[in-house]
Every structure is written in structure tokens, then in C-alpha cells.
């Protein structure tokens, strides 16, 4: 079918076409000569375009996967991360060769895969100053905008110089059906710039040379696998949603609501089916409810619904507005994955590689188009991945790649998850301040109701005093049996894990991985450029699952904790002190702790004082710590190892 990365049928390009091109160039030159003076604004515009194309060309990657074909890619960071299509790299395997317009060939390693969205992230090796393209806000792209593609059509770029094809944006927010459950193009850009086999994975740029999408698909029909003026690009905003997960070496899944929608007789989009196990159901969504908006985007058609959903990663929480009997409800819904991890793994593993020297796949036979009545899906042909991951192949990985590749189930390349996890861990550690605070952490203050509370966290237990009574959790054992205090879903367990994460880092905590980026505030969807994304760590520790979202400067701003897989999590928001209180509370300490469980707010805790007890021998050196933090870190680690039983001393951490 219509994969774009194999040009076999086009190696026999008649020379007449080249001659025709030359004639056209001459004609253009002739036209110019007779045009006389050209307005400087026109020349400026031309220069701007040339510059934009030069910048884009520098960031364009020509991917060569030997027998398996190849395609295009585009660099998005100076340390060599490049986006491309899943269907381009899948036949290539873990290691590939990538050419840049500088004429050099680089080793590259596979980092992350998103089969559902047909996206892959690779990393070019050997430099930290690669030219790269800036991701634009693709929601700002308008039909009629100038755009151009830079890529490797027909694998012509044997000298690594990309081909440029220019055009206009023909359509925005297009939906193109998946092949089965993968290679879905949702909310994508449609262009009339020539997108040919081999352009797959290459960048689509705006007039200023900013990346607005990644080309990957085209409508082909009876004319064979050659551009007919209809190409599709994955939008930059979708790519941005997944970039964190991909950088984390993950095998990424897309989101499903656990409910399907259909157009009702009167033209509304209503819930036609819903799983009772879905979060949407638990939050109150029911059959026949009208979906008004999802993730901040108004939903007027089924396509619009699929467009929004198709750009979101599994696991995100998004606002959903629905209407029932004239009443408008807004809920936050946690999105499930389209696939199980086993399904994703088998998709990536693919079919066995055909024996070398076997018959080549038949050239570009146009196939009868798939028709889905009313779906609007005409002769569009989805790219089709073939052939397996080369990781298990007989060819050994190049040394440069071997050192940055680690196979692990559920991941594309676990090496990069460790890299990202360690980066975030360094941020969270905040120069080791917390590592030293080995005694009890005591937070006191008032609830929103005006009543007092006291929270005490230590290595051995967590205690909370509430107007309703005192609750304890043993911190040394498993935490899953005790979702205390009652009604919170596990608030004490969440705070105990938080303390351990701050003090010890992610590794001693349990099995912790980098979970990509996630919206800082799920209610902020719909803003220009999408929601603000922050790093997330996922931990499996002490019998519970926890997610920590990490805000600016490494402060943990959110914790979600599941004591059982199907239970609603305890959701803790840690709100930093406003600037005038920053002096009062240590960096990274919350001024407000907001706890939610299920559909309810459990409590809002206004922290007025935070006290950190330290062992007596540490307390004596408190002043030193202020001046010699670096030295102190070393000392503290020694202290911890040496003696945990020292008598308590007080380190006043704040007070109002």
C-alpha cells in the first residue's frame, strides 16, 4: 500500500522529466531578464524565503536504512534529537545512518516510538551543536499559508542535500483513519506541496522556516504512488504532546476515552457507547450525553472529537464538557490507552523479515481505495509498516549505538528513560537540601474550614491530626493496604513517598521511570500553543503506583497515588508559596496542599509552619550549611550512613 519511504517504482524516472525541468528553469530565467527592475520588497521576500529554506535544509535528515529503504527526518534539538515517522524507522531497526546537508553521515539510534501516531524519535550521535528546527504553534496555521517540505523524496538525497517542495496549506484539522489501530493521522495538516515516497518523516515548515508538522502520508489512487497534490503532516502540537514520552525512550500509546460518540439525528455529538470501567463513566459521563468540548476544543462533529483525542497521549487528564437535559457539566477525565502494552510490543516487533535476495515487493500497484461511507475517507492510503525491528537481527549494533541502547519490555530504548529520569532526579534533589533532613517533617496550619491540622512525616511513619481524628501509616512496610486518612485515597502514603523522593531520589524509592511530560494544570487546555507541559516520574513502590509531576526548578507540584489499579487515585496538589512567603518556607515546600479523591475535594491544607527535625549532630552545623552547601551535601550523606539514631534537633523551616 502507500508507505512513503520506498521509491522502488521511481528509479526509472524518464530523463524527459529532467529535461523538462531544465527548460522550465530557462524559461523562468528568461522571464526575469525581461522583467527589468524588481521591487526591493519582492527581493526581500525572496531572500527571507531562501533563508528559511536554508535553515530548514540544515535541520533536514536523510535517513538510510539500507535494504529496508529509508526516508526523512527533522532535527528538533541541538543534541541531535530528530523526529521522523514510525513507518520509516520500523524497518530500519535500532541503528541507522543519517545524512545532513553538511554532507556528513551520522550514526543514529532509535529513542522512542509512537506507532499509533506514526511518529518516531531518533538521536543523531556525535555532536551537541546540531542545527535544528523550532516547533511552531500549529494551531495558528491557516489554510492558504505558504509552506514547504524538506526531505528525501525517492531517496534522491544521496549527497544528503534535501529536496524542497513548496505549496500552501490546503486544509487544517484533517482526520485520516488509522490502519487497524495504528498510523492514525488526527488533526493533521493537508498540503499541496509535493509529498512523495521518501518525504515521510521530513519536516513541513512555515514561511519563517519553523516546523509546523512532520510529513508522513498522502492520498494516492489510480495514478500510482506519486504526489497528486494531497499530502498530510502530523501537526507540531501533536508532536509536542508526545515529545517528552518519546525522549523518555518509551513505546508510546495514544489516548482513548473509553467511550464512543456518534452524531445524533439532530446533529449533536452524543455518547453512543461507554465502558463502565472507564474514568469517564466514574466521573459521571453516561449514554446519550452530548459532548460539548474535549481538552478545551469545541466538538461539533465526530471527526472533531477524534481529532482532539488522536493528538493526546494515554494517561493524560483532560477537561470534558458535556450537556445532559440542558445542564452543562465539566469533568476532568483520565484517558486510557488504545492498546495494551503487549499489543504495542507485538506491533513494533512486526512480521518476520523476508529472506535477503528474495523477490522485491511489487511496485506501486494502485489498490482499490478503502471506502467508509460517510467517513470522508476517499482514496487515502495510510503508510504501512512492514518488516521487523532490526534489533534482533544478526547485524551487530555499531559501538556508538550500543552504548546508548538498552532493550527493555515496554520501552523502545530504556537507556534514554534512565537519562531523562536522572535529569529530573537532579532537579528534584535541589542541591541535596532534603537529603539532609532525616528527621520528622512537621507541617501545621489550617484547613479551608478554619480548623487546625498537623501532618508529621518520618522514615518510620506518617501521622495526620484532623478535626475528625488522628490517623497513622507505617512507612516501613507496604502502603497499599492503608489509603489513609479515610476518604483521601491515600494522602499519607502519597506524602510519605514524596518525602522519600525528595530525600533519597528516585532509585531507592522503587521502580521509577520517566513518564514524559504532562499538563501542569489539566484545566488549562485550550490555551494558545496547548497546555504547559512539565516532567513526570512514575514510581512503583511499596505496593502502590505513584506519579510525581515536577514543576519549575524541580519542585514536586503534584502527586497521584493508586493503592489499587482500578481504584481512583489520591490526587495531591502541592502549591508553592507566593513570592512574599518564599522566605518563610524552604524552596520546594508547599504553602497549600490540596487533596482530591474521586469526584471530591478531600481537603485544602494551608501550611503555616513547616518544621524539619534533624539529628543533634547535624543541628550543630546548621549555620555552616548555609555557607557551604556543597561540602555539606557530602557530609550529610556520610552522616546518614553513619548514624540514624542521633537525638533530634530542630531546624525551623518556616513560620508566618
Amino acid at each position: 500500500m502507500q508507505r512513503l519511504n520506498q521509491p522502488r517504482a521511481f528509479r526509472r524516472m524518464p530523463p524527459g522529466i529532467v529535461a523538462c525541468g531544465v527548460a522550465c528553469m530557462l524559461a523562468i530565467a528568461g522571464g526575469f531578464a525581461s522583467a527589468g527592475e524588481v521591487a526591493s520588497a519582492v527581493l526581500d521576500a525572496q531572500q527571507q524565503r531562501i533563508d528559511a529554506m536554508r535553515r530548514a535544509s540544515a535541520a533536514a535528515v536523510a535517513i538510510f536504512a539500507g535494504e529496508a529503504g529509508g526516508g526523512s527526518g527533522v532535527l528538533v534539538s541541538p543534541d541531535g534529537y530528530a523526529l521522523t515517522n514510525f513507518h520509516v524507522v520500523q524497518p530500519a531497526g535500532v541503528a541507522m545512518k543519517c545524512g545532513l546537508a553538511d554532507g556528513r553521515l551520522y550514526d543514529a539510534v532509535l529513542v522512542g516510538l509512537d506507532p499509533t501516531g506514526d511518529v518516531a524519535l531518533v538521536k543523531l550521535l556525535g555532536r551537541d551543536d546540531f542545527p535544528y528546527a523550532e516547533l511552531a504553534d500549529s494551531d495558528g496555521v491557516e489554510v492558504g499559508d505558504f509552506c514547504f517540505a524538506a526531505g528525501n523524496p525517492f531517496l534522491l538525497a544521496t549527497d544528503f542535500q534535501p529536496s524542497i517542495s513548496a505549496g500552501i496549506v490546503s486544509g487544517t484539522r484533517r482526520y485520516q483513519f488509522p490502519a487497524g489501530t495504528i498510523l492514525e493521522y488526527a488533526d493533521c495538516l493537508q498540503v499541496d506541496a509535493a509529498i512523495n515516497p521518501g518525504n515521510s518523516g521530513g519536516g513541513l515548515f512555515d514561511a519563517r522556516g519553523r516546523l509546523i508538522g512532520v510529513n508522513g502520508r498522502a492520498s494516492f489512487e489510480k495514478r500510482g504512488r506519486v504526489n497528486v497534490g494531497v499530502g498530510y503532516a502530523i501537526s507540531a502540537n501533536q508532536l509536542r504532546n508526545f515529545l517528552g514520552l518519546l525522549k523518555g525512550g518509551r513505546l508510546v500509546d495514544h489516548a482513548t476515552l473509553g467511550a464512543t460518540v456518534a452524531t445524533s439525528a439532530d446533529g449533536r455529538v452524543v455518547v453512543s457507547d461507554i465502558l463502565e470501567s472507564s474514568d469517564a463513566w466514574k466521573r459521571g459521563l453516561r449514554y446519550d450525553d452530548e459532548v460539548v468540548s474535549l481538552a478545551g476544543r469545541t466538538v461539533r462533529t465526530v471527526n472533531a472529537f477524534k481529532n482532539v483525542l488522536g493528538t493526546l497521549p494515554a494517561g493524560w487528564r483532560v477537561p470534558l464538557v458535556y450537556r445532559r437535559g440542558g445542564r452543562r457539566e465539566e469533568i476532568l477525565v483520565r484517558l486510557a490507552g488504545v492498546h495494551t502494552s503487549a499489543e504495542l510490543a507485538s506491533i513494533v516487533e512486526g512480521k518476520p523479515r523476508p529472506p535477503a535476495g528474495g523477490p522485491a515487493p511489487p511496485p506501486a500497484e494502485p489498490e482499490s481505495p478503502r471506502k467508509e461511507p460517510g467517513s470522508g475517507d476517499g482514496g487515502t492510503d495510510e503508510p504501512q509498516p512492514q518488516r521487523p525491528d532490526g534489533a534482533s537481527g544478526a547485524v551487530p549494533l555499531p559501538a556508538a549505538v550500543r552504548s546508548v541502547y538498552e532493550a527493555r519490555r515496554g520501552f523502545t530504548n530504556h537507556h534514554f528513560n534512565a537519562v531523562e529520569r536522572n535529569r529530573v532526579a537532579r532537579l528534584v534533589a535541589a542541591d541535596g537540601i532534603y537529603a539532609s533532613l532525616g528527621g520528622r517533617w512537621i507541617f501545621t496550619g489550617r484547613l479551608a474550614t478554619g480548623e487546625d491540622f498537623r501532618i508529621e512525616l518520618s522514615d518510620t511513619e506518617g501521622v495526620i491530626d484532623l478535626p475528625t481524628g488522628t490517623t497513622r501509616v507505617d512507612a516501613t512496610g507496604e502502603l497499599d493496604a492503608n489509603p489513609s486518612p479515610p476518604g483521601s485515597g491515600g494522602m499519607l502514603a502519597a506524602l510519605l513517598l514524596w518525602r522519600r523522593l525528595l530525600r533519597e531520589g528516585p532509585e531507592p524509592l522503587g521502580r521509577t521511570s520517566y513518564g514524559g511530560t504532562t499538563p501542569l494544570d489539566p484545566s488549562m487546555f485550550g490555551d494558545a500553543g496547548g497546555p504547559r507541559l512539565v516532567d513526570m516520574l512514575e514510581s512503583s513502590a511499596a505496593g502502590v503506583e505513584a506519579r510525581f509531576t515536577i514543576g519549575d526548578g524541580g519542585a514536586v507540584v503534584g502527586i497521584e497515588l493508586w493503592t489499587a489499579p482500578d481504584a481512583d487515585p489520591c490526587e495531591v496538589r502541592l502549591v508553592a508559596a507566593p513570592p512574599d512567603r518564599l522566605q518563610a518556607l524552604p524552596a520546594g515546600m508547599p504553602a497549600t496542599i490540596e487533596v482530591r479523591h474521586g469526584n471530591d475535594l478531600f481537603g485544602e491544607f494551608q501550611v503555616e509552619q513547616a518544621v524539619f527535625e534533624v539529628p543533634a549532630d547535624e543541628a550543630g552545623r546548621k549555620d555552616q550549611r548555609e555557607d557551604q552547601r556543597e561540602d555539606q551535601r557530602e557530609d550529610q550523606r556520610k552522616d546518614q550512613r553513619k548514624d540514624q539514631k542521633a537525638g533530634p534537633g530542630l531546624l525551623p523551616g518556616g513560620g508566618t
Partner: protein
């Protein structure tokens, strides 16, 4: 040499087009012209006058959708006459997602033009121009629902290009030579795709200059054509259809219409749509009180000979009928229920021929 000049002009126009195109129109060029619309605005304005048509099809190689152009605020839509329109229920979806049931006003079989009507008021519509053709080198946008990518309130697709030439159409579809021999604009962008027929071609000021036709190959080279019926021809065809003068059997306009085609509907015979390379010439319907009805023809009869000469396909029937001189007797041999029947349809009328 003339051809070379045109090519040069065309190339130069394309280059200038690219140059001035980037959000900001250079002041030097726009000065003196009042508020030239941006390409984005031009496309958005024109797209409001283009409709998505859903009808019959969805089987092997035949789309069930095409495009149409609103040409009157009260809901007249011009489009391409095709098998898509051969449906009991025709849906037209406007740019804003409003959905209408359309009725057929009439067809112009030679230009393969159809006019539909929806019940609307104050609809956005193009003015059909009878002015002179635009010169080669004119920059255009083509708006159509190619590949049916746009559904509901989604906007039809926009493509950009240049008018390369205005030439007589010499094209075929399968083995069937297209009867229309009038002038068409050849476009330098890949406009004519599944679903494109009936799409609007506008200039950079948003004026309608043509309508995209069916997917056709050039008779000589076999190359897929990207072309549009000029607005002038569209205007005449539209006028004839709404005034009833283009009805089957009426006079045909002389603007380049000639060729081997003979429309058997003149005799009251409607054959099955010509979908295959050799579509068997079954009769689909027989018009009441027509020569065919009087001769005893019935739906599902298979035509096997015209005037004693055997015919193996629908195209062959058309050709054989065209070969019968005006006024000569038309006889059809048909198979019905295993028996061969001879039917005399009387003298061949003039219709379907050049006036």
C-alpha cells in the same frame, strides 16, 4: 514560438507569485489597489461558496462524493454530471456544516454539467461571469473536496497553481472519448482527483474562473489532465439548463461541441452508467412515451446490435448510434429472457449532433 512565449510568461508569473507570497504583500505592489485580500482570506471567502455533494457510489473505483459551486443565493449549484448524481437522495453540505437535500434541475450532457437546487436563502454564491477567459499565467486557487477529506463543517481543500493554457479538450475516460471538445483551462497543479469534479477555480481576487472536471487522461499522451471548464462555458451551460434549452432533445450550443457522441436518451433510452472498460449495454430505464417505449424496449434489456451491427459495450452502442445518419431508421436488437427481439425506433432525430 508562440508556445514558448506562453511558457515563459507562465513561468515568470509563477515566480512572481512565489515572491510576493508571505503574509505581507510588498507595499510597492499593493499600493494603488484597495485592500487586496490575503490568500488566506481569498480562500476562506471562496470556500464558503463551495459545497460537498454526497450521492451514489462507493463501489469499485467510483466515489460517492464530489464538489459543487453555489451560483445563486437561492441555492442553485453547478457541478459535474456524473454517476454520483445518479441517486435518490443527494446531500449538499455547506462550508458551515449545514446539510441540504438537493434536487436535480437539469443536465447538459455535452458539457457534462448539472445544476442542482437546494432550498436556501441568502446563501453565499459566486457570480457566474461571461467575461473573457483569463490569460495563461493567471494564478489560481482550486477548491474542492478531493478524496472526500472534508466532512461536515470542515472546509474543502485548497490548492494553488497557475493557468497554463486554454486549449480544446481531447480526453478520454477508459476507452470512452469525451464528447466535449470545447476549451478548457489546463492547470499546473494536481487538481483533478477523486471528489474534485465540480470544484471551484478562483483567481487571487476570489472570482470564479472555472470548474474542475472529471478525472480524464489526454487522448494523445495518456497523461492525467488537470483542467477546468472556463466560467464562460459554465455560465452558458447554466443558463441553458435553467431555461430548459439544454434539456435532452433541445438544441445544443455550438461552442466547440462536436465529436462522436450521440446521447441515446434522446430516444428515451438510458443505458447503465459506463463504469467499466466494456460495460455491457443494459438498458437502465426507458422514458415513458418515447421512441424507445413505443418500440417496446424495457429496462434490463441487453442491446446486442444497432442496425444489425453487433455491439459489445455501452461505448460501442453510443458509437454505432452516432454512425446512424440523421433521419435514418434506428433499429436495436436486444436480448430479453433468452430471446432476441428486434425493435424499430423510427428515424434518428437531430438531437445530440452539432447544430
Amino acid at each position: 514560438m508562440k508556445r514558448l512565449d506562453a511558457l515563459k510568461l507562465c513561468g515568470a508569473a509563477a515566480v512572481i507569485g512565489l515572491l510576493v507570497w508571505s503574509g505581507v504583500l510588498p507595499v510597492g505592489l499593493s499600493a494603488g489597489r484597495a485592500e487586496a485580500a490575503s490568500p488566506q482570506e481569498t480562500i476562506a471567502g471562496a470556500a464558503r461558496k463551495v459545497v460537498k455533494i454526497h450521492g451514489a457510489g462507493g463501489v469499485r473505483g467510483l466515489e460517492a462524493y464530489q464538489t459543487g459551486i453555489l451560483v445563486s443565493p437561492t441555492g442553485h449549484i453547478v457541478t459535474v454530471m456524473s454517476t454520483v448524481l445518479d441517486a435518490d437522495e443527494l446531500d449538499c453540505v455547506l462550508d458551515d456544516g449545514r446539510r441540504y437535500r438537493a434536487t436535480m434541475v437539469g443536465v447538459d450532457p455535452r458539457r457534462e454539467l448539472a445544476v442542482l437546487s437546494i432550498e436556501g436563502e441568502d446563501l453565499p454564491a459566486f457570480a457566474l461571469s461571461t467575461s473573457d477567459p483569463v490569460p495563461p499565467g493567471t494564478r489560481i486557487f482550486a477548491l474542492s473536496n478531493l478524496f472526500g477529506v472534508a466532512v461536515g463543517d470542515e472546509r474543502v481543500s485548497a490548492q494553488h497553481g497557475v493557468v497554463s493554457a486554454l486549449v480544446p479538450l481531447e480526453a478520454r475516460r477508459g476507452s470512452y472519448e469525451v464528447p466535449y471538445r470545447g476549451g478548457v483551462y489546463i492547470l499546473d497543479c494536481t487538481t483533478n482527483n477523486p471528489g474534485s469534479p465540480g470544484g471551484a477555480v478562483v483567481d487571487w481576487r476570489g472570482r470564479l474562473i472555472g470548474m474542475l472536471g472529471k478525472e480524464l487522461r489526454a487522448s494523445g499522451s495518456g497523461i492525467w489532465l488537470n483542467y477546468a471548464l472556463p466560467a464562460e462555458s459554465l455560465a452558458s451551460g447554466y443558463a441553458e439548463i435553467v431555461s430548459g434549452t439544454a434539456a435532452a432533445g433541445g438544441d445544443m450550443p455550438a461552442d466547440g461541441l462536436s465529436g462522436p457522441g450521440f446521447d441515446p436518451t434522446v430516444l428515451g433510452v438510458v443505458l447503465v452508467p459506463d463504469l467499466l472498460d466494456r460495460t455491457p449495454p443494459f438498458i437502465e430505464t426507458v422514458a415513458a412515451d418515447s421512441p424507445a417505449a413505443r418500440a417496446g424496449l424495457r429496462p434490463d434489456d441487453l442491446v446486442i446490435a444497432v442496425g444489425g451491427r453487433s455491439v459489445a459495450s455501452r461505448a460501442a452502442v453510443q458509437q454505432a448510434l452516432s454512425a446512424v445518419a440523421e433521419g435514418d431508421a434506428v433499429t436495436l436488437s436486444v436480448v430479453r429472457g433468452g430471446a432476441i427481439l428486434e425493435c424499430d425506433l423510427g428515424p434518428r432525430p437531430a438531437a445530440g449532433r452539432k447544430r
